[in-house]
């Protein structure tokens, strides 16, 4: 039995410990925000956080989550109030949207570590998340906007 938390709630999995975390989230816990893209950790569509660190769930065995806190796009906020979500809505960042739960989870991790990222910081953090629609210019703008929203929130 592998026990862990997902978005603050207790969860468990009692099967092959090498099962990709993505399948457990999507098929067992019905959290379908994280998407299957490439299956080999190349595209980032399946990104979630484990203890605040982004991971590619398509190649991460569920055993790695044991005793740890998993956050998916569904747990980023309860009311779409996370600065990344607000910025993504404000700038209408996605096109097809398939990759954007992964984009947003990586962006949220970036802003938690570097609250006012430069373009170079964004390049370093986001280059491992691919977007076939090519929304990179809006992703960059949205991260800067989310940083502004975070700063404004701190000033209140």
């Amino acid at each position: 039995m592998i026990a862990f938390k997902v978005n603050g709630k207790s969860a468990s999995f009692d099967d092959d410990p090498s099962t990709p975390l993505l399948w457990v989230l999507r098929d067992n816990l019905q959290l379908t925000g994280a998407k299957y893209g490439c299956g080999i950790a190349r595209c980032g569509a399946c990104t979630v956080h484990i203890d605040g660190e982004p991971v590619r769930t398509c190649v991460t065995p569920v055993s790695r989550a044991a005793g740890r806190d998993v956050t998916t796009i569904e747990g980023l906020s309860t009311d779409l109030g996370h600065p990344v979500q607000r910025a993504w809505l404000e700038l209408q960042t996605p096109q097809c949207g398939y990759c954007h739960s992964g984009q947003m989870m990586t962006a949220a991790a970036l802003l938690s570590k570097i609250p006012s990222p430069t373009d170079a910081d964004i390049d370093d953090a986001m280059s491992a998340n691919l977007c076939r629609c090519g929304t990179y210019h809006r992703i960059r703008a949205s991260i800067h906007r989310a940083a502004e929203l975070m700063a404004a929130g701190r000033r209140k």
Binding site: I40, A41, R42, A109
Partner: protein
């Protein structure tokens, strides 16, 4: 019967016993084929960008060494690499302690000839402060070194067996760690 026993003893003998005639630097030169193999060189890099594959292409995804040798603050090695190899072709390889040498001492030896490579690996200023015993230990049991011989689907292992490589390193060290041709 005695011939059979002699043959069995010969087959079971360690590489050291089979190579008593090798000199120190001669053993190092034979081991260098491993040290220059992409499985080693792709991580023992001079700059900030690790390499991948048989032809040492830059690691995709703009991956960088980072201040703690484990990636940048957001794109960590462990974002993708696990403690075991991915099963699918082109999926991330993995082992315990998957990380690069530290940026202050990158332990890089791309382009060095045998003598310079030998001197670099022996030098604690270059090799991360390793004594000769620690060097042998690294080659013998570091999980990242051992991974080179089990690199997962689609990746080539070094051309000599790990046991033979370690024995060559031992001969080199035990016979004086010579870097003189």
């Amino acid at each position: 019967m005695s011939r059979l026993i002699a043959c069995a003893v010969f087959l079971a003998a360690p590489a050291f016993a089979q190579k008593p005639q090798l000199g120190s630097f001669e053993a190092f030169r034979k081991a260098a084929v491993v040290l220059r193999h992409p499985r080693c060189l792709n991580c023992h890099i001079p700059g900030d960008r690790p390499m991948t594959g048989p032809d040492a292409t830059l690691h995709p995804m703009h991956v960088k060494r980072g201040a703690d040798s484990s990636g940048t603050p957001v794109v960590r090695c462990t974002t993708c690499h696990q403690e075991t190899n991915g099963e699918l072709p082109h999926s991330p390889p993995g082992s315990k302690e998957w990380k690069l040498p530290p940026p202050a001492r990158p332990m890089a030896w791309v382009g060095l000839d045998d003598q310079k490579l030998c001197a670099a690996i022996l030098s604690p200023k270059v090799n991360g402060g390793m004594t000769r015993d620690k060097l042998v230990q690294h080659m013998d049991s570091d999980p990242r070194v051992l991974w080179s011989w089990e690199p997962g689907p689609g990746r080539e292992a070094p051309p000599i067996a790990h046991r033979e490589f370690v024995e060559l390193i031992r001969i080199w060290i035990e016979k004086g760690a010579s870097c003189a041709a």
